[in-house]
């Protein structure tokens, strides 16, 4: 009996000694800390948004590894084995680093993509501004250009805030605005192409009359922003002129900012008393203008309360290098002095939108 007790005590002692002194592995706590730090880094790099799949996988792997480590911790020391926990956490670490890399790459890609789109958009906008600078359609185009400029600005702000998706949407809207502008310009040029023969015939008639009577006449090419003084059908002098701020179309009503198109005559020569140095009053509206005005009213193109306007002049105070009048034609005071030497009441003034007569 005693022997039995001694043996039992011995076995218990040996078991206790084995448990206490058997070299058992340590839990991978450092690795766990590294994984957590890698996940924090990934989170800061935006992985939860830009590399969500790998980030969430890394989180899950860390959790599994942690649980496995805990499971092993609960076992008796000689039976602990952290190999599975180790590999799960190592996988998690790799995945977390991968998520950081993926997020950084994705962000870098989005950044360069968005900045590229923004730069292209900005270039297109500048190109449009350059192309339309000085053209009659500039005023109408400004509606689209202003919106595009505003969207360009907002896009820049969004990029600086790293809101790439929103920035790209904003840029796309800006591009839509430029597309609408492009459509408008196409329609405008198509209209020009269809009507060039009419304007050309007006110019030819004016030249023929001038030739027949050996008289002076003034031809104004709105697109070229030039006024031509002719005598006997020959070009005598060219003046740079400025027009109504909205001269892409024929004048329809008072206050529309357009310079009229048609065959007119000088009805008064104002050598003094003009607000704009000196002036030559034209017979706008003529019969043709009145007919067009009434028709536009009937068709509802203009308001029924609109007035036809008047007092269209060739006057001084020009030289502002932009279209700024309400519909008149402005030249510099010096050129006004020059022009007034040759023209008088009754001198024909033909205004066309485009002409191919002179360069």
């Amino acid at each position: 009996m005693r022997l039995f007790l001694i043996i039992t005590a011995g076995v218990i002692f040996l078991a206790a000694a084995t448990v206490l002194f058997f070299p058992h592995p340590n839990p991978p706590l450092t690795l766990l800390e590294n994984v957590r730090s890698a996940l924090n880094q990934a989170q800061r790099a935006g992985a939860s948004h830009y590399a969500e799949e790998s980030y969430r996988t890394a989180q899950e792997l860390m959790r599994f590894g942690w649980m496995e480590m805990a499971r092993q911790n609960g076992r008796l020391a000689p039976f602990r084995n952290y190999r599975k926990a180790d590999s799960l956490m190592n996988l998690s670490l790799t995945m977390a680093n991968q998520a950081t890399d993926d997020a950084q790459k994705r962000l870098g890609y989005l950044d360069s993509l968005t900045r590229g789109e923004q730069a292209d958009f900005e270039n297109d906008l500048l190109l449009w501004r350059e192309v339309l600078d000085g053209s009659l359609i500039k005023f109408k185009a400004e509606r689209f250009l202003s919106l595009a400029s505003q969207l360009l600005e907002i896009g820049e702000l969004l990029i600086s805030e790293r809101e790439y998706e929103e920035a790209r949407q904003t840029i796309a809207k800006g591009r839509e605005s430029l597309l609408l502008l492009s459509d408008m310009v196409s329609q405008y040029t198509d209209y020009d192409a269809q009507n060039i023969s009419i304007w050309q015939s007006w110019v030819q008639q004016t030249l023929a009359n001038s030739r027949a009577k050996e008289a002076y006449a003034v031809i104004i090419d709105k697109s070229a922003h030039k006024a031509y003084l002719v005598r006997g059908g020959k070009l005598m002098h060219t003046y740079i002129c400025e027009l109504g701020y909205n001269s892409s179309h024929h004048k329809l009503f008072a206050g529309d900012g357009a310079t009229p198109e048609g065959k007119y005559k000088i009805t008064a020569v104002k050598r003094r008393g003009s607000k704009y140095y000196k002036a030559l009053l034209l017979d706008y509206p003529n019969r043709s203008d009145r007919n067009r005005f009434e028709e536009s009213k009937r068709k509802g193109i203009i308001s029924p309360h609109a007035r036809i306007g008047g007092f269209i002049e060739i006057h001084g105070e020009g030289g502002k290098y932009k279209d700024w009048t309400e519909g008149c034609i402005a030249i510099t005071n010096g050129e006004m002095d020059h022009l007034m030497q040759y023209v008088t009441v009754g001198t024909p003034v033909t205004i066309v939108r485009r002409s191919v007569q002179w360069p």
Binding site: A70, S146, Q150, L157, G257, T325
Partner: protein
């Protein structure tokens, strides 16, 4: 010597008569059984299922409140505490039944729940703060646009300035469109985008006012 041989009980009982011996032995056995039962009950504590459930529910609520986006630090802390609690529970589960004690994991689950609730509250507060900020910006932008519009309608339209005013109108319309977009973003909960757009609108409205002043000055100068 003979009595000793006949007895199978421990030696200290051998000096007692058989009746006393049986009584004592019974008492000791009963005592041992009670101690073992107590140890077993103490050791095999109940797993903190309810606490775990509550902590998980609180974390889900924090997720719904977008705590990961608005208060990432507190949310991360709550998640870490939940993971640690789960690990502690797992560790206890792995132990021999007699040595199980869930006190530590229970306490950690409660801590994780409290942190998750804190994250939810903080996220809601932060979201509310951002929302209020954007709402204020919306009001500011509206006010700036209204001022610009009022200035535009009062701006002197004469030869030379009418064209400028008409062009400024385009800028105003563009700013107004951006304002409407920002309002939609606000309604959709895209506060960051709305904020950025509204900053742009306010800036534009201010530049419009400046432009109108310039155009008016030009008119007076004329």
């Amino acid at each position: 010597m003979q009595a000793r041989r006949a007895c199978a009980c421990p030696c200290f009982l051998s000096k007692l008569n058989p009746a006393e011996r049986n009584g004592q032995m019974f008492k000791r056995l009963a005592l041992t059984a009670v101690v073992c039962a107590l140890l077993a009950f103490a050791g095999c504590g109940k797993a903190p299922e309810q606490e775990m459930q509550m902590a998980n529910t609180a974390i889900e609520a924090a997720k719904t409140a977008e705590a990961e986006k608005y208060v990432p630090d507190i949310y991360q802390m709550a998640m870490d505490t939940l993971n640690a609690a789960m690990a502690a529970r797992q560790e206890t589960d792995s132990k021999f039944a007699l040595f199980r004690s869930y006190g530590k994991s229970k306490e950690m689950f409660l801590r994780a729940e409290a942190l998750a609730k804190e994250a939810t509250d903080a996220a809601q507060a932060e979201k509310e703060r951002v929302k209020t900020e954007v709402l204020n910006l919306l009001a500011q932008a509206r006010e700036a646009l209204d001022s610009a519009n009022a200035a535009l309608s009062k701006a002197p339209r004469g030869k030379g300035s009418k064209a400028d005013i008409e062009l400024i109108k385009n800028d105003f319309n563009a700013a107004n469109l951006t304002y409407q977009e920002a309002s939609s973003d606000y309604e959709a909960g895209k506060y960051a985008a709305a904020k950025t757009k509204l900053d742009g609108v306010i800036r534009k409205a201010q530049s419009i006012l400046e432009e109108i002043k310039k155009a008016a000055a030009k008119k007076i100068g004329k």
